[in-house]
């Protein structure tokens, strides 16, 4: 079974942003530029998350979805602020292959069932963003990590699968952006209990972390952001700065983030292949003309 490597792009307005613990709006450049770079360098799928849509009701991804789907021919999953069947339809019509639901799904789990029926299970992902509690359980959160729900992440995962979700994306908010590795316990517990694919997200700091979450965390696919974005900063950031967004980090040309080994998709896939984890990997030397 080939593990999928899925770059995750957090988008605010026209910018690619990257936070820590889903917090912070550091601008790293233009999402289209990064998306194209990842497509050309072996990404299996892409995820676009509108990180502030549920916070202040702004849905700004449609443009970029349209543009992406015309030029980038790998599956695109879109999430952030999708609240209704109409929102989902609009995103799919713009060119998304799959949609990710979190806040709206927890508010009304029936939405998952309806959406799965209407658009097909495989089109509907449920995204679970969890924070570890002092007693070792994990609580699901909404609104980009801001609101607690009282829902046990594991229970919610089982329920989402029952309601017809095609895949689950499980993010550890504690690990997200820190480069400290995935939360293996969170991932494994869910991955081993649901019959649908589970995409692990949050915490990759090195290719070894990715291997770990597949082998020990039992993830079927792995999504990552910081490790890849900081890995192609030199290539993907542009000189034309956005009208909106704070670009201090970019203009300061800082080295990166201490705990993260900036990596390419190639680095990650090579490490997986060399360590017995199958993935769609064509080593550069052996690539066909």
């Amino acid at each position: 079974m080939n593990v999928r490597i899925i770059p995750r792009l957090d988008i605010k307005g026209p910018n690619l942003v990257k936070g820590i613990h889903l917090e912070g709006l550091r601008v790293l450049g233009k999402p289209e530029v990064y998306a194209r770079h990842y497509y050309e360098h072996g990404a299996d799928e892409l995820v676009y998350m509108d990180v502030v849509a549920s916070l202040y009701g702004r849905n700004s991804l449609l443009d970029i979805i349209e543009r992406t789907s015309k030029e980038i021919f790998i599956p695109l999953t879109v999430g952030g602020g999708l609240r209704s069947l109409d929102d989902i339809r609009t995103a799919l019509r713009a060119g998304a292959d799959k949609v990710s639901l979190n806040t709206a799904a927890i508010a009304d789990p029936n939405l998952v069932r309806e959406a799965a029926k209407r658009f097909g299970s495989s089109t509907i992902l449920v995204s679970i963003e969890a924070i570890r509690q002092p007693d070792g359980t994990y609580e699901a959160h909404t609104d980009n990590g801001r609101e607690s729900t009282g829902l046990d992440a594991y229970e919610w995962a089982l329920r989402a699968a029952e309601l017809g979700a095609g895949e689950l994306m499980v993010t550890s908010i504690d690990r997200e952006g820190t480069g400290e590795g995935f939360d293996l316990e969170l991932t494994r517990r869910i991955a081993q209990s649901v019959p649908i694919p589970v995409i692990a997200c949050g915490g990759a700091g090195s290719p070894e972390h990715v291997r770990e979450v597949v082998v020990d965390g039992r993830a079927d696919a792995v999504s990552m952001a910081s490790i890849l974005h900081y890995g192609c900063l030199g290539v993907c950031d542009e000189d034309t700065f956005a009208v909106e967004g704070n670009v201090e980090y970019l203009s300061g040309r800082r080295a990166g983030f201490a705990k993260i080994t900036p990596s390419s998709i190639e680095d990650v896939k090579r490490h997986l292949s060399e360590n017995g984890v199958p993935c769609r990997y064509v080593p550069k030397e052996a690539a066909h003309a």
Binding site: I20, E23, V52, L55, E244, N246
Partner: protein, 404 residues
């Protein structure tokens, strides 16, 4: 209809919102707390003829500054004060929040200074606040002096400041502001670094062209001019039986002492371009800082000022007194730093501003010996008629910030 509405605290009658951020002219400027009485008329945020507030103008100016030159000035300053005999050469007052984490770390590990950090602790530590504080010291790596004031007196003063001024944070503000110079004087440290200059938030622009903090903020000339919790020093002693000794920690050091000891106070924000959000990243990376896993009540933020349980109350009272809640403060700053657009800020203010704090309020009330009812009454009394109106059994703001 030109009904003349009463204004409390000498606030401007007309409510004007900045056209760039979402702050209004009702925001009081920073001013010496020990002169704070019920009838004081505090200067408030100035909004110019184009509708832009001073804080936004300051942000504009920030873009024009030659930061490389400023950094050179910092390096020069550090070179002048740096000690190589093992003693402390500067003092960084702070709490281990993202800002002081950044300040202390960058001064020590980038500019080669030997800071002593000093902390005036929160009135009531939150778990995350305390963890961030210990990480600051243990992961960041700094010597620290924390001063814990007499608990009974602090409770009394906190209660009085709420009762008289609806200002829960006064003891903290006073303690924190005044601790630095005293510790510096006692330890023979001649350089104190604070973080951002007050003008970042709209205090008079004139203050900001030099880096040295206005000495009147932290010096005391005549005891008779002093008020704590809205009560004169004299009354605190005669009516509340508080000893002068218990109050000294809240009062600034005498002018002569400061002048004698040659202490200089500088803002790091003068020398290094201040982006609070980047301080967050820096603090996570270097001092083990962690945002809270839940949104702070009254705003959308998870990492701004999260170490004191009384914080939430503080912003609730600003909402009562000035119609400005925490979301307004947080989002205005982020608009100025271009993280948010004004429309986004407006949406955030509408969604979160003035949210009544629930998480810690019972504990805070118990700590200071007040009932919730009393607190609610005080809040209602503080609502200035020119800002609030009673509509259908509910309090409503007369003016809310809207999209342009």
């Amino acid at each position: 209809m030109s009904e003349k509405l009463e204004t409390y605290c000498g606030l401007p009658e007309e409510v004007v919102f900045c056209k760039r951020c979402v702050m209004s002219n009702q925001r009081p400027s920073s001013f010496p707390e020990f002169k704070h009485t019920k009838d004081r008329k505090a200067p408030t945020l100035h909004i110019d003829e184009e509708g832009i507030c001073d804080a936004c103008r300051h942000a504009e100016q920030k873009e024009l500054i030659d930061w490389e030159a400023r950094e050179r000035e910092l390096v020069e300053l550090c070179d002048r004060y740096r000690k190589t005999d093992g003693s402390y050469d500067c003092l960084v007052p702070g709490s281990g929040g993202k800002d002081s984490a950044y300040q202390a770390h960058v001064l020590k590990y980038k500019y080669g200074m030997h800071p002593l950090t000093c902390t005036w602790p929160p009135i009531l530590y939150t778990d995350y606040g305390y963890k961030n504080f210990t990480n600051w010291i243990e992961v960041g790596g700094f010597d620290n002096i924390s001063f814990k004031p007499n608990g009974r007196v602090q409770k009394l003063l906190t209660r009085l400041s709420i009762q008289n001024l609806l200002h829960p944070f006064q003891t903290f503000i006073l303690g924190q502001k005044n601790l630095g110079p005293k510790i510096a004087a006692k330890w023979g440290i001649e350089l104190i670094f604070y973080g951002e200059n007050e003008a970042e938030y709209g205090n008079p622009l004139a203050d900001n062209t030099s880096s040295l903090r206005d000495k009147s903020y932290y010096t005391m000339e005549h005891l008779d001019e002093m008020y704590l919790g809205g009560v004169s020093i004299e009354e605190l002693r005669s009516k509340f039986g508080v000893d002068m000794n218990d109050l000294m920690i809240y009062l600034p050091p005498p002018v002569e002492e400061i002048e004698r000891s040659n202490i200089e106070v500088h803002y790091l924000g003068y020398y290094l371009k201040w982006t609070p959000q980047e301080s967050y990243y820096y603090a996570v990376e270097h001092t083990g800082f962690k945002a809270r896993p839940f949104r702070t009540e009254g705003t959308y933020s998870k990492y701004n000022s999260i170490d004191d349980k009384i914080d939430d109350l503080h912003y609730y009272t600003t909402f009562m007194k000035f119609g400005l809640g925490r979301a307004t403060y947080d989002s205005s700053q982020e608009v100025r730093n271009k993280h948010l657009t004004r429309e986004e800020a407006v949406a955030l203010v509408h969604r979160f501003d003035g949210e009544k704090p629930q998480r810690y309020i019972a504990e805070v009330m118990e700590h200071i010996g007040m009932t919730l009812e009393e607190f609610d009454e005080l809040c209602d009394k503080a609502r200035s008629p020119h800002l609030w109106v009673r509509d259908g059994g509910e309090w409503k703001l007369r003016h809310r910030v809207e999209n342009l």
